[in-house]
């Protein structure tokens, strides 16, 4: 035997030194994945709730605005953008008008006639923050919709 008993034991301890660190690093990947899933889920829900609040503010603005349909649409778009903390982009906001029997009123002479329904729809392409399993995957589309009746009499176009 080349090494003494004491030296052999010392070698065994030396080979185990730092094993907890290595083990910890191995566990770090699934741990961080879980943490990022929680962050991403929270962020997605925050965006969804914010967009929902924004479209509701948009339809409220539309229902009380006495103006032409074009100006009402512009007001709704700016309201939704402001109330959504600039998350919503103008190209993703759709303002639609319906008659009381829920037929599209967009082609009517006065789409925002009192008693008609205004519907605001916003979409948001959500990309998760965590760089895990997202290669080649399309962003998740979050959607928020709200509708109400128009109460203010419109002015002529």
């Amino acid at each position: 035997m080349i090494f003494g008993r004491r030296a052999h034991r010392r070698l065994q301890y030396g080979s185990r030194r730092g094993s907890e660190f290595v083990e910890g690093m191995i566990m770090m990947l699934p741990f961080l994945a879980l943490v990022f899933i929680i962050i991403d889920a929270s962020y997605g829900l925050f965006i969804n709730a914010t967009l929902q609040y924004a479209v509701q503010a948009g339809v409220t603005a539309a229902s009380t605005d006495s103006d032409t349909a074009v100006n009402v649409q512009a007001l709704v778009t700016s309201t939704v953008i402001t109330q959504s903390l600039n998350l919503a982009q103008p190209g993703n906001i759709v303002v639609s008008f319906y008659t009381p029997d829920m037929n599209p009123a967009g082609g009517n002479a006065v789409p925002n006639q009192t008693g008609n329904v205004v519907e605001v729809n916003v979409t948001y392409p959500f990309s998760p923050l965590a760089p895990l399993f997202r290669e080649g995957l399309p962003p998740i589309t979050l959607t928020a919709t709200a509708a109400t009746v128009l109460t203010a009499p419109p002015v002529a176009n």
Binding site: E23, M27, L45, P100, A147
Partner: protein, 176 residues
């Protein structure tokens, strides 16, 4: 008595792989329920916002008197957006009541409950029941209150609370 060095080596051996076990336990019993609860509460919150908006609109339309019961039956489900789901068990009802304080006491009338979605939550009005009228506040004689109540549930979003048997869905009320 075991020599101290041998005892320490045994302790080391027992500790090996403990981080993996700890992580599995923590992940299973803390992180995953936390994640499911977070998603469940968050999505139910958005649904509650939609239900509140629909309920307010329903009450506003009912109180204005511009739309009859048939029109409300057609319009409200169409205005409900994603709440008007076709998934089984997802949905609810909108109950519209009118309470009046007449010289003979409180009277109430109620429209046929408007169904939103495909099944789901059902419930009775808390203010206008057969044989019992519970006004939301003291009303003077001649005063009228229009009440909109909405019950709604989406069991697909009740991942955590339904398992505990505590989820009764969303209830919204608005008085005009």
């Amino acid at each position: 008595m075991r020599p101290p060095i041998q005892y320490a080596r045994l302790q080391e051996r027992f500790r090996r792989g403990s981080a993996l076990i700890e992580f599995t336990l923590v992940g299973t019993f803390i992180f995953l329920p936390l994640l499911a609860g977070l998603a469940s509460v968050g999505m139910n919150m958005v649904t509650a916002m939609q239900a509140a908006n629909l309920n307010t609109t329903a009450g506003q339309m009912f109180s204005s008197g511009q739309w009859d019961a048939g029109q409300l039956q057609t319009m409200l489900p169409a205005m409900a957006g994603t709440l008007n789901s076709t998934s089984p068990g997802v949905g609810g009802v909108v109950i519209l009541s009118e309470i009046q304080n007449t010289s003979n006491g409180y009277t109430c009338t109620q429209l046929t409950p408007i169904t939103i979605g495909n099944g789901g939550a059902t419930g009775a009005s808390k203010y206008c029941q057969a044989g019992a009228v519970n006004p939301p506040f003291n009303m003077v004689v001649g005063q009228t209150a229009f009440i909109a109540e909405t019950y709604y549930i989406n069991p697909n979003l009740a991942w955590v609370f339904a398992r505990a048997g505590t989820s009764n869905g969303i209830y919204e009320v608005a008085v005009f």
